[in-house]
Every structure is written in structure tokens, then in C-alpha cells.
Symmetry: C2
Amino acid sequence: MGIDQALLAIDRTCGSGSVLTDADLLASHAHDESEVAPQQPAAVVRVRSTSEVSAVLRAAHEHGVPVVPRGGGTGRVGGAVPVQGAIVLAFERMADVVHIGREDLTAMVEPGVVLGDLHRAVEAEGLFYGPDTNSLDSCRLGGNIGTNAGGPRTLKYGPTRDWVLGMTAVTGDGTVLELGKRTSKGVTGYDLTSLVVGSEGTLAVVTRATVKLVPAPEAVATLLVFVPDLGSAGRAVGAALGEGILPRCVELLDPLALELVRAGAGVPVPDGARAMLLIELDGVERSLETQLERCGEAMLAAGAVEVLVAKDGTERERLWSARRDLSHALRRSARHKLSEDVVVPRTRIPDLLARCATLAERAAIRMPTYGHAGDGNLHVNFLWDDPAKRPQVDAAIRSLFEAVVELGGTLTGEHGIGVLKAPYLPLEQAPELIALQERIKSLFDPRGILNPGKIFPADVRRHFHGAC
Amino acid sequence: MGIDQALLAIDRTCGSGSVLTDADLLASHAHDESEVAPQQPAAVVRVRSTSEVSAVLRAAHEHGVPVVPRGGGTGRVGGAVPVQGAIVLAFERMADVVHIGREDLTAMVEPGVVLGDLHRAVEAEGLFYGPDTNSLDSCRLGGNIGTNAGGPRTLKYGPTRDWVLGMTAVTGDGTVLELGKRTSKGVTGYDLTSLVVGSEGTLAVVTRATVKLVPAPEAVATLLVFVPDLGSAGRAVGAALGEGILPRCVELLDPLALELVRAGAGVPVPDGARAMLLIELDGVERSLETQLERCGEAMLAAGAVEVLVAKDGTERERLWSARRDLSHALRRSARHKLSEDVVVPRTRIPDLLARCATLAERAAIRMPTYGHAGDGNLHVNFLWDDPAKRPQVDAAIRSLFEAVVELGGTLTGEHGIGVLKAPYLPLEQAPELIALQERIKSLFDPRGILNPGKIFPADVRRHFHGAC
């Protein structure tokens, strides 16, 4: 068997203790945080260096064995779920912040670094790294890079791609490439760094990255804004952005989402509040007062029922508690839950929410929606109890994606395509464009061993026909 | 001849008046602003739409005719210099700002839009577009996208790639693709938008782009800082960035550059000043005072001889006059001038300048240096009068690039590789990486008709052997 020969070769090169086939470990590497059916890998290899990753890929390439690079396993679309007979690459042993260049405003990191650890390391130097996924205490940089991860602060600071300057990456046949640059600026050649970021592990395995940093903002303030209806919420978001201020986040909870967290909202939800906005501003201490005043006034002018402000860490956390708890509150509130991460131009959010209301009514399900309203990235949830409803839910999901594309949006804002969204890719992208991407993949990975069954509809059908 | 058949087909599709072969017009499309020897195209085609661009490329693909997309012709490395028998695509008739989404913070633009016109259009709406090349009143968005153009403000706002969300692009065989997104966020599929940005017209012709906008900063202030030596300049740059403030630009003039503009510096250069920094801060009006104070104090602590501050437009322009005039002042000061646009990590700027001093001494030439010190992007100039010195200059240029790579930098910060830097590409990139990029090109452009003779050393030698 190819897999046995590959594992033998890997064991010889990487040393004993690298190839792991312990049953519990395989089980814990069989899934991510999506609904994709778990599939145990044939082995987990804990790599320690670029040359070990290269050795694994050379062996896998030679023997035709699929390889699935895995970060923290926090993905939401099955991107890290192995196909049958795969080797999972695990990066716990490559988890160093190798270097922080305080004056160069760069850091060199290994893919196993947990995002929250990078935050703490650079913040200790008075610096700041933008992306802040909800899973920041367990997701790893390699996974962030693979999915071009975002988070609330993406509104002001952009997603992971905007922060990755260069990388060491290993392609499907084990070739080690130095991509991009180690400086904040540079335009030499094609931007293969940006191509690999967000490619969901299908083009290359990142073994080291140079990321950009910025000086840490001196102060942060949070506004919690209750509004009487979605119309006011839309006006409020527009007003916040129209004040010449770019908040670092503008989060929205729609009426159903707000209802679900009412009890655990950290603050009393006032009568007449039907939606909630969470706005964060940052910058120089003295400027925050001005920004807060203006933003607060704009909220009241847009019809806000109540505006709460917090400037210190504990108070800010209290205002965030409702938003942070939301995903779990949703899960508790129904037997079945699916969540779709879509984007529309921010002015089309009201249209999207109106479509959602229609879809929910038609399928007789609940569809609470929340997310990063500032950049039009909403998490639309589908909640139902009766398993027999699944076909209606699936129809509603397809209709949602059709609506999103029709409104000028995109299928995914930060979770990726993975397994779950691949069937819908043709709604957004023309066959020529999908084919071009498949041909690019085959340049990086001639035998198609890198994270197979992800992104591309035909490839996903081949490997996950039962799962989506 | 292929070219005649291609032009006939184009004339039939695009209508009379599209294909231009007037001698003056051909001559004016034979060069850019580099030292690459001019080469007249066979024809200039003034396109009006995506479908016309597609028709031109289909005809050119069929008949094997090279096509050179041209923006404002302001490039510095020969990227828009035609090869023999080429069709130049000109975009004066595709120069509309199609739409500004004030609340969506996006604009849809045609490639012929002059960058300064886009600035004015979005600023009229209280919005802001980041990239600000020195040639902003003549360069066009299509060229900016092709070169991933930067400018002083790149330090805070990033280069063109950070602003392009999506595009309509036509590949080498005339296929029209919709790449990327029209929203600020989105991670569907591979980021082919970022791949096309900065590909110097070798992958696809951009016919429309959606760009990101941000709210316009309320206020801008400029500091002109005179320092007694380069060591103080380095400390001052570090101090400015270490204050928790990210200036929008930090420009440096080294002693030779300062000497050249002393007479036209707009302000008296104080005794003891041997280098000059130009720092710009922007943000909320009230925060600027604080930022200015802190930044000014940090400059004095770093040893500045004098710090001048300007907040209104006219005063700011006066402080900028020395920097703006520099390129021309350099040209006036010697019979021969070459300028190389390199990047090193900002902490290595002193090392780079020390190397330059050695190189200048060895070749007995002058090498004034200036540029975007905040992001380590310097324009190193080579000035000489005796034409016989050219071999020494060429040797110095190669040594400069070797030093840049050794210091962890990159060959080009914002001008691109084009014709002139292609011979040095192997100093920075491994053969496997260059080969991979060539294979990617052949997917987008199977007959190699799109801007041949650019970026790739072998291809450049084939077309421009005499020029570099």
C-alpha cells in the first residue's frame, strides 16, 4: 500500500515519534468544527521543520497519499476534515514566534502559533496584529493563513492576507519555496504569497511566515447600541461610517439573535430594543473622546434607544459578552443548527435580512442573523428541531446563496469554501474561472495530494459525496 | 502577416477609428519614463469596452501578435515599452469612475482613469483612496494595478493591491473573467485578483476594477525635520514609529539629496542639517495635536536640528516642494542618471546607505538616495557625467541589488521588474520560483502574447537583448 510505504519513508526521515497512529489521536484529528462527517486519517505526523514537511510531501507525492495540513481544527466548513487514507500534518511542534522586529514592524512566526499567543507576544512590545477570529485562543496561524481568516476587526484592519508579507511554503511535490518578502513593501514578481493565503491548504503547506505589525492603538472604546428596528440599525451603521471615522468593528445582532442572548447580555436590554450594534473605536487616547461623542450622537440621531460606552477592559468585556456567547446560545436553542457566513455590500444588508425573513417563513424555521455588519459579513443561522425539515433547510440555504450573489455579494466572508460550500461555488464563479483555479492547483500540486476534496465542486463530490 | 490579419479583425469588430497607426501616435507610445530604448508598436488600439479588449486579444491570440496594455506611460522600468510588432492597448476611452458607493465604501473604475481624478472624485464625497504615486496627475489606474503602485502614503495605507477588491480581466486568449469581489470582505476561491495586481500586464488586461475606499481623514499635518546625520535620521524614524503612531508617510533625503535641493527647498535649510525627514500624520483633528507634539518631541530627542510643522494645504505644499522637485533636481545635476527602487527592512537602512557610500566611492560616482524610509523603500540614484563610466555604474547597480537581498530586502518596492530589473530577478528568486511563475503565466496567456519581454529573464533577453 502507498500509505505504508509513505509512512515508512517519513518515519525514516523524521525519526520515531513523528508518525502517530494512536486511535484517540486519529479520532481527534478526524473533524473540524463543521457538520462534515468525521473521517479518521491514516496517520498524524507532527512535523518540526520545513525540511520535515518537505520530506512528508515528497513521500506522499511519490506514493500518491493525500496530505491534510491542520491548524487548530476550528474551521467551520470542513477544510481540515481528512479524506480517506490521508496523512494529517500537525504543527504543535512548530509553534514559535521566531522573531519580533519591534522597529521593523514585522514578526516571523511558525504555523503552529496560536493566534492569541501572537497577540500577547506582540502586544507586550507595544505592537498590534490585526486578525482576531472568535477562536483566537485555539486557532493557529497556519490555519488562519490557509483560510485568510478575519474577525470583527477586519473592518478597519483587513483579513489575514493583508498581514502576511512572505512565507516559506512547500508545494505538493515537496519543493520548498520562499515566497513574498520580509519587508512591508515590495513588488518583485507575481504575488504568490497572496495566492497561497486563503487557498485552504490546497496549493502549499506554509512552514514559516513573516507578518506585518503596526503600533498598538493607544486606547480602545466600545459602544453598545440598542435600536428599535433593523432600519435604524442600517441607518446607524451608515452614520457611524459616515462620520469620517472607521471603527475597528461594527457588529450587529438582529432581533432573533438579540432575543436569544437577552438573558446573558451582560447589561439589561431596554424595552423597545429590537436589534443591537457593538461598535469599537481605537486610536490615540485624546481622539477617542471626540470619536465617541460623534459616534454616540450619530447613533441617537439614527434612532438608537440606548447607547452604552465602555473604555476599560472589564467593562468592554461585559459589553462583548452577548456577542461572544451568541454562537453557543444559538446552538443551545435548537436541536439542529447550521450557520452560513455570507457577505453583501453593506448597503444591501437590509435587503438580505428581508430575504432571510421570507426564507425562514417559507421553511418554517428560525434564522437569527448576526455578524460583522460594518463590512457586510453576516452569519446567517438556520435553526430547527425536526430532522425531517432538512430538505427545506437545504433549499433555504441555496436560496440564501442565490440572493447573496444577486445582491452583489460573495458566498463566504471568512470561513472559506471547504467541503460545505463547494456545491455552491458555481453560483458565484463561472466554469472558466473554476477551471483556471484547478489548473493553478495542478501546477502547485501535480498529483492532487494537498488537501483533496476541498473548494472545487468535482473534487469535493469525489471525496465527500455523502457529506454535502 | 499575422499583424495585418489581426488588425483587420480588430477593425471589423471595434469599428473604424479604433486602430491607429499615425506615426506621431506610434512614437508617443514607444516608450515609458525609463531608460529602455523606445520601440514603436505596429498599432495603437483605443478600446472602449471589455468586449473590445476581448476582441483584440482573441485576434492577437489567433495570429500570435504581442499586446502591450498601457496606462499613463509613467513606468520606470520599461513595463510599457512595446516589443517589435506589438499592438498597444490604450485606455483613454475607458476612463470613467463608473460608480462611487458612498456608504459601501467602494468605487468602480475603468482602467483609463487618471489616479488624481479618482482622488478628487472620492474626496468630493468625503472619502479617501490610499495609493498616491508621484505621477498621480498622469498615471492611470490600469497601470497602477499592473504595477501594484505605491507612493509615500503606502506606509500607513498600503499599495494598490490592498485597495483592489475585484476586477473584470481578460486573459491572453480573450476570455473575460470576473475576479474577486465587490465587497470589502470575501474569501471565495483563490485570490486571482491579487495575482493579477502587480503582474505588469503579463497575465490579463484589467478592464474594470472595484476598489476599496475609507472615510477621508479629517486632518493632515506635515513635519519637516532636519537632522545632523544619518544616524539621527534612523533614530528619528524609529522614534516616530515607536510612539504608537503610524504616520502616513516618513520620507528621507540623505545628505547628497538634501544638498541638491537646498536652493529649492521651500524653507531655509539650517546650518548643521545633513539629512531631512518629511513626516505626515493624519486622523481626527483633535488627535493630530497630540500626535504632532509627541512626534516633534521624539524628533528633537533623536537629535533633530529643526522641526517645522504645517497644517494647512499651502504650508504643507511648501514643505513638500523639496521632496517633489527631487527627481528633476537629480536629473539636472548630471549628464547621466539611473534610479533604483529598492527595499530593505527599515532597521537596515543605515547598513544600506553605508554600502551605497562604498559603492559610490569605488565607482567614483555620486549616489544621492531618498525615498519612503518609513517602509524601507529607498530610491538610490546613480549620477555620472562621463559616458565611459557606464560599466562601473552597472557593476555598482548589481552590487546594490546583491546588498539589498543580503540585507533581507527586495529588488523593487513600487516600480516593478519590467525590462530593467529582470536580469537581477535570479538574485532574489530561486529558479523553481521563477519557473512556477512562468507556468502560471502560460495558464493565463498560452501563446505568450501579453506584454512579452517583461519580468522573466529569459523572455526579456529574447526581446530586449540590447536594452539591459
